[in-house]
């Protein structure tokens, strides 16, 4: 991270920023000139940025352009002249970019915001900006990094931040010391954002039920899987709060699908290719619902080729209607993945204790359990889903708070 040269300083006459964030000034603009109707800015490190006029005009931090309460764009694109151009541009005494537009309006831009909004040619992912890199892990993962004290999570933003960070980086976390109150499965995940309701209920009780509508509600062992593979958009985060775990068996298993599919890619690229290109249908038919979704098991980022999500579905496969040779590759690939999912080289096992809450990225981290014997003791988990983007929103807000604290120092 570049050195922060100056804090945000309204006091020296810099314009506000058009949103709720603070933009520490990492570089000052030293010169500006009009070029093709847009604005060329030169920075104090000698680099230059060429801004399109509409990028600047529609983000002008004045109350006519950005609604002062909602901070959303209040002027529609079609309200500006199609040929809108900058007529003059300069860096003023306070260090702001000052622009006069061809329609007679004026804008001033804060240099911290301007630098953050400059055109970028590198292949950065703007949605992951400022976030830690993920750690892809195998069976040798040291669990100390994912165990987080949650005893004061409602009051202590640092505990919340550590929990969010582990969820993002490792794709899972075990929050300790949260007690066994039945409401906890709702109130702690809600620190991230709203819960995702689904046909199994907004909160679901993972216990053995006589009329199970899912293998999860039996005492069967469950091999590694993701939840709701039958949905276009699988739930992003799953939370399982342990209330009771006294039965023989019932250990929790976790695996990083990104680690496992990478092994397959190296070992058998043709099978990896089949699983990342052949559409497979996941289907869950019940008396009153009939969900299905058809897509390749491994979803790749089209720009990087890296996995974005893995639809690891051991028991909700609709009949594969691909031709024989394709089906053969798919089944060979699935078998190899499922075999790897059974190996301790690729999985970690934890026994959840009452008062612990396991959370994981359901689009990346596989979860399962060993069979348990309900005659030897009770096993009761309560679960819910929250979207992954709620985690990211929370991480951005926590980072914003951190920046604000830094700016005050």
């Amino acid at each position: 991270m570049a050195q922060v040269l100056e804090p945000v300083a309204e006091s020296i006459g810099l314009p506000g920023t058009p949103d709720f964030d603070s933009y520490p000034i990492r570089h000052w603009a030293v010169a500006a000139r009009v070029e093709k109707g847009g604005v060329d800015v030169e920075w104090d490190d000698g680099s230059r940025s060429r801004f399109h006029p509409m990028v600047l005009r529609e983000n002008s931090p004045d109350p006519e352009t950005i609604h002062p309460v909602t901070r959303e764009q209040a002027r529609m694109l079609t309200e500006f002249p199609a040929d809108l151009a900058a007529t003059t541009a300069e860096i003023d005494a306070a260090g702001a970019l000052s622009v006069r537009w061809s329609d007679g309006t004026d804008s001033r831009f804060h240099p911290g915001w301007l630098y953050a909004s400059r055109p970028r040619t590198d292949a950065h992912d703007p949605d992951m900006e400022g976030m830690s890199d993920r750690v892809i892990w195998g069976g040798d993962l040291d669990l100390s990094g994912v165990r987080v004290d949650g005893s004061r999570i409602f009051e202590d933003e640092e505990q919340l931040a550590r929990w969010c960070e582990a969820l993002h980086v490792y794709g899972f976390a075990i929050l300790e010391g949260v007690g066994t109150d039945r409401s906890v499965v709702e109130t702690i995940p809600a620190l991230l954002g709203p819960l995702r309701d689904n046909n199994f209920g907004r909160i679901f009780d993972v216990i053995s039920k006589p009329d199970a509508d899912s293998n999860a509600y039996t005492s069967m062992g469950l091999p590694l899987h993701v939840d709701l593979a039958t949905r276009e958009y699988m739930p992003g985060l799953q939370f399982l709060h342990c209330i009771e775990n006294g039965a023989v068996g019932g250990e929790s298993m976790l695996g990083d699908s990104f680690f496992i599919v990478e092994k397959l890619r190296r070992e058998a690229p043709d099978l990896y290719e089949a699983l990342s290109t052949v559409p497979l249908t996941s289907a869950n038919k019940a008396v009153n619902t009939d969900y299905r979704w058809t897509t390749p098991m491994i979803k790749l980022d089209p720009s990087t080729g890296e996995p974005l999500e893995v639809r690891w579905n051991p028991w909700l496969r609709a009949p594969l209607t691909a031709k024989f040779e394709t089906a053969d590759k798919v089944y060979k690939g699935l078998r190899r993945l499922f075999e790897m999912g059974e190996s301790p080289d690729n999985t970690v096992t934890v026994r959840l204790k009452p008062g612990e809450m396991l959370g994981f990225d359901n689009r990346r981290i596989l979860h399962g359990r060993t069979a348990y014997d309900p005659t030897t003791g009770g096993r009761a988990l309560r679960g819910c889903y929250v979207e992954r983007e709620e985690l990211w929103s929370r991480l951005r807000i926590l980072a914003r708070h951190r920046r604000a604290r830094e700016a005050e120092l």
Copy 2:
């Protein structure tokens, strides 16, 4: 649809099917033989299907393979021998395919299920199988097709079916005669499936609010838009129940984005290409949330090239960081689309009456409103979201009920 030759007939000794559906027999299998470990089936119309052994084996409708309560696969792929093969295959006296496997187990398959599960080489979309084609519409749409009587929707499955069908085919429907009870916004959409919670609330009141956290909660006119463009997965269906609409102004506008972007594709293919390839960031920053998502505005189906969704976002655009020439194409394309969105050639206008509920596909259908004057009367809508796949699940269940009724006749 092919003629149904025989009803499902357990009575003549056919095996059950592995799920909750009925499979009318449209073709009988007339011959079967083992081929490369799989099974070749000849149908009564002379066509042939070559089944991979694992497709058949893991879908065998016996209680050891498919859990009799959950109807999910109870045996894992890795439990079957990797070299599992059919050793004998025949069509038995009842018309079922009877297979003996190399591990000594046997399976029997119902011919209706078998035909529905045959390998397919045509480019059909299995998730849309049996559903009506969508109608893409412009400003001349006859609204009679989208107005549906909802006065008995809780009791009358035909009303429910007509509503679902309109929502699917036209992407929107106006349900009439549902009254003005404030609970209706929750109970009627719940006929499809669970509501999608979000940061504006599971149920949101679209009224003018003093501390609006969205332009929607002002009395401003709202140009066509989609909701929650800042989310990876925008809500599939939105419902707006009209409680009161007495103010001057406040008409509802709707447009079919698939119709409008197709016009752009014909008129300016380079701008269409920019909007379907250049990543744009939609961002919604608030005091306690910071949502953003970066993706091209127009999402195309990679196999057909047709639009799957349009992220039509007039006022939540983060600064575009693309280079100047790219930004220029993006802004030209956006401007042209937004201009078309203002033309009655591409939109329909309705004035919602108290007791009507507007529902629309938020990933396809654009919605907006004219400004209203809150001093002239009240305007109160209540809204919620439900995923599109809940609609599809409901359509499949309604079709299943119809097939069951046909089978009884």
